[in-house]
Every structure is written in structure tokens, then in C-alpha cells.
Symmetry: C2
Subunit: 235 residues, 2 copies
DNA sequence: TCTACTATAATTAGGGG
DNA sequence: CCCCCTAATTATAGTAG
């Protein structure tokens, strides 16, 4: 009656063999776990996709098998996966969630402060807090204006320097015109000169008008600009 | 030679039995998978914690065992765990991490904006951005001052109302004094009078102090009006 | 830990209920 | 799916190397 280890073609016989041998393996697994105090899990999927599983723990803890098979699997994962096992994942998830909560709180706090700095949602502040806020915004305004003026000054400086350079270039070109009065300066050279002059004038004019505009416009509704400008800067 | 299924005490014998039976189970598992075309995985941990595992796939795909045992485990998880298997946990972790990154970016963004609203770290802003920021802070300052003034006014109103009530109470008491000049006001009435006066004085004093303190901190010209109004109405 | 051996225990194919 | 039975096969305890 010896059989070859190959697929049993006759379905009824295969089903019977599957049942018998499956129980045989589970029994052997249980025996091994007891005899040698080892932890054993067996997972079998029948040809039709049905699951049969065994784990030695069902004898030890007297609870339904799936959970203990899961335990063995968790141990298996932590053995071979090392860093990718179940427990650290769950622990990490917890950490990430706590982080998230903390970040949300910080974000809410920052948003609230930012709104107050923008001068909205001030209803809940008492007089003393409003006083402090006013000082803060006042000081901020001072710094902004100072920074702006410094920037304007440095740009003016730069433009003056450029102007001086242009004048120098002009002088040199005039000098060359004198040196070569019959005009062997090419058209490109003339164009270059004109461009330089235009650039200089436009720049100076634009910056200076901007400055004037600042001083004349003092109380427009600017709130919406904030996010635009700042995100522009941050982007 | 029949043995009882209980822990083998003699260590060498237990080790030999473990080795023999382990191989026996693996063999049976392999045979079952072939005979009945089923998928089998066996996981065994020895008493010393060493892992031995078998999966039927090693015959089918000719690749190292751990991966195929993992495949069987994955199938096992999707079978029984369904919603609580490995994948969702890892997916959730991914989501939380992405959330975290997003929150961190928002927080950084808000912090930067807040710093700029406070007038620090303005070096990287260009002239146009500084211009807009100035308008924004200016408008904010206006709103803060306005809110503060409104608050001050409402507190003044409250004080006026309280003062008027006190005056009225005074008048009534004086009237009663006239009505009963020989003083047949009972002790309770006297007590009531004293209480009313005390409450009134304490209230006025405290509110007024707060108000003066507030105004003295201000660079604006509100303090004189406040004091005048208070002294005028309450005095 | 492995191999070999042997006697015996355990499993199981095949059949039937 | 359960049980049975029987004969054949297989697994393994004990032992030694």
C-alpha cells in the first residue's frame, strides 16, 4: 500500500488523506511542543483555500487557537524581521499619534498668537494683555520700518554706485569718441550705452516712488496680504 | 518503547527527540502539501529560543524559506485578521507619519510668519514684502489700539453706572435720615448702609486703579480723559 | 549535532459504516 | 465530518558510533 509522494488525483481519496494527515501533523506538533517544551505553530491552507491552523499554545493557555498562532507568528516576525515586527510598529504608531496631538496643540497656539498679532480675535484679552500686545506690535512696527529703511538705503547706495559707474562709462565712451572722431564704434557699443542709462533711471525711479507710497498710505486694509506676502517669502 | 507524552527530563534525549520529531513534522508537512496540493507552514521555537521553520513553498518556488513562510503568514493574517492584520497597521503608521510631516511644515510656516510679525528675521524679505508687512503691522496696531480703547470705554461706562447707583443709594439713605431724624433706623438698616458704602468704595477704588495703571503704560493720550471722566463722574 | 541500527509505536491507505 | 478495521508504511526511542 505504499504510495508515491505526488498529488493524489482521485478527489475523494485526496480529501480523506488531507484530513488524516492534517490531524496527524497537528498531533505531532502538539507532542513535540510538550515533549521538548517548544513553541509550535502549523498553518495549512487546503486546496480550496480553507484555513486550518494549530499552535502549541492552545494546550498551554486554554484559549482559542487563532490568537496563539498569532503570537507564534509575532515571535516569528520579531525573529526574522527584527526591526519590522508587530510590537514596535504598534508602539511607533502610538508615538506618532502622540506627536501629532502635540503638534496640533502647538499649531493651534501659534495660530492664535499670530491672529492676535494681526489684530484679530482680541475680544478675550483683558486690558493688560491688550496693553502688552500694543507695545509688542508697536515695537514690531518700529523694527519693520527700520529694516525697510535700511534696505532702501542700501539699495540707494547700490544705485548711486551704479550711476557713478555709468557716468564713468559714459566718460570713457566720450573719450573714445574723441579719440576716434570718425566713429569706428560699432552699433552694439551705442546700444549698450543706452541700455545702461535706461536701467539706471528706471531702477532709481521705481524704488523712490515705492518709498513715497509707503509714507502716504497709512491705514489701508492689508490683512489679506499677509498670508500672500509671507507665504511668498516662505515658499 | 512506548513513551508518555510529557516533557522529556533528560536533556540529551530531549534534544535528540526534538531534532528527530522536528524533521518528521517538516517531512509530513511537505508530503501533505504535495499529496493534497495545499499550502503549509510550520514554525517551531526550541526551548532555547532557536527558530526552525518550514513552508511548502520551498518546494514549489525553490527560494529561501523565510520569505515563503512569510507569504503563508500573510495569507493567514488576511484570512483571520481581516481588518486588524499587519497591513492596516503599517498603513496607519504611514498616514500618521505623513500627518506629522505636514503638521511640522505648517508649524514651521506659522512660526516664521509669527517671527516676521514680531519684526525679527526680516533680512530675507525684499523691499516690497517689507512694505506689505509694514502695512499689515500698522493695521494690526490700529486694531489693537481700537480694541483697547473700546475696552477702556466699556469699563468707564460700567464705572459710571456703578457710580450713579451709589449716588442714588446715597440719596435714598439721606432721605431716610431726614424722614427719621431721631434715628429709629434699626441696626439692620445701619449695617446695610455701611455695607453698601464699603462695596461701592472698594469697587470704585479697585477699578480706577486698574484703569490708571493701564493708561500710564500707554504712549497714547487716553489717560487724561479717563481720569477726568472718572473723577468728574464719581467725585 | 548527525548517522545507523533495531525494535516497536504510530501513522495511514484503503475500505466500509 | 466522525468512527471502525487491517495491513502496510513510516516514525521514532533507545543505543551506539
Amino acid at each position: 500500500m505504499k504510495i508515491k509522494i505526488k498529488k493524489i488525483d482521485y478527489l475523494p481519496a485526496r480529501q480523506v488523506t488531507f484530513s488524516k494527515r492534517r490531524r496527524g501533523i497537528f498531533k505531532k506538533a502538539g507532542e513535540l511542543s510538550i515533549l521538548c517544551e517548544s513553541e509550535v505553530a502549523v498553518i495549512i491552507f487546503s486546496q480550496t483555500g480553507k484555513l486550518f491552523d494549530f499552535s502549541s499554545s492552545r494546550y498551554q493557555y486554554n484559549t482559542p487557537p487563532p490568537f496563539h498562532t498569532k503570537d507564534v507568528i509575532a515571535r516569528y516576525n520579531s525573529h526574522i524581521g527584527g526591526e519590522k515586527s508587530d510590537q514596535p510598529t504598534i508602539h511607533q504608531l502610538q508615538l506618532e499619534k502622540e506627536n501629532n496631538i502635540r503638534l496640533r496643540k502647538e499649531l493651534e497656539d501659534k495660530s492664535c498668537k499670530l491672529r492676535q498679532m494681526k489684530g484679530v480675535d482680541l475680544e478675550d484679552l483683558d486690558l493688560d494683555e491688550l496693553q502688552k500686545l500694543e507695545k509688542l506690535v508697536e515695537a514690531s512696527l518700529g523694527r519693520v520700518i527700520q529694516t525697510k529703511e535700511e534696505k532702501i538705503m542700501s539699495e540707494v547706495m547700490a544705485l548711486e554706485k551704479k550711476g557713478a559707474e555709468l557716468i564713468e562709462a559714459n566718460n570713457q565712451l566720450s573719450h573714445r569718441m574723441v579719440m576716434y572722431p570718425r566713429g569706428d564704434i560699432g552699433p552694439e557699443a551705442i546700444l549698450e550705452l543706452e541700455n545702461l542709462n535706461n536701467i539706471g533711471e528706471e531702477s532709481v525711479t521705481s524704488e523712490s516712488t515705492t518709498n513715497v507710497t509707503t509714507c502716504s498710505n497709512s491705514s489701508l486694509s492689508l490683512e489679506d496680504d499677509c498670508s500672500d506676502i509671507l507665504s511668498l517669502k516662505l515658499g
